[in-house]
Symmetry: C2
Subunit: 144 residues, 2 copies
Amino acid sequence: MVLEEGTILSPRFDAAGLITCVAVDATSGEVLMLAHMNAQALSLTMETGEAHYFSRSRGKIWKKGESSGHTQKVLEIRIDCDQDAVVIKVEMGGTGAACHTGRRSCFYRTVPLGAPASAETRLGFTGDTPRFDPKAVYGKDSGH
Amino acid sequence: MVLEEGTILSPRFDAAGLITCVAVDATSGEVLMLAHMNAQALSLTMETGEAHYFSRSRGKIWKKGESSGHTQKVLEIRIDCDQDAVVIKVEMGGTGAACHTGRRSCFYRTVPLGAPASAETRLGFTGDTPRFDPKAVYGKDSGH
């Protein structure tokens, strides 16, 4: 298990050149969002201590918060056993909303347990309500 | 933003039929591992309350802990804004090790901040040491 026990950064980017990144709140540990990084986004994040991602829909590097002010100051980066995913511990800027819907976390809905998935499976809301109006910040066709 | 504000489960599986799943410790909130689910794995997880994943390397559904005893009892499932990722809050069975290396979490190494990535970037270890011998549990060619 060379990759798992290694001490040299050797990210395994997928066919699209990406690894998955999970951003968690540095204080509470809450999972805020999931996004992707290419080699340059990872390197910029390491160098600047500000989260950079790669937008698959826009096909380009994106500094989190560049348009919305919802920056992510990175206090720690962790990489997993097979080096194809990272966790970053962040301090949110702006209103503290990581999600483009204005909520603190993108994971603001629950999926019920106790029955298989169906076309009628209803989600619950956690009470993580929007902190800003996404239309006002991102415009009508809002992305993250 | 119909998908984001919707109350019906509508997972957006990727071209390979998968969504990403982040498993976190239900008590501490620590990120334990990242894996993938297809529609069946998600449905089985919902129905049984035990984490099921889809193994991309083996091309099949996999009940976490079926060979190792390191099961994951699912206390909550959350889905994100665009419904292509879930977070599951779990109680680990067995030794409490979610990682195939025997560690509690797969994210047991840190990536340094303050410089861009290079071929010499050294990782640190967090002190999350193996709780079992993976060779004894999984055999020589161990996967998760």
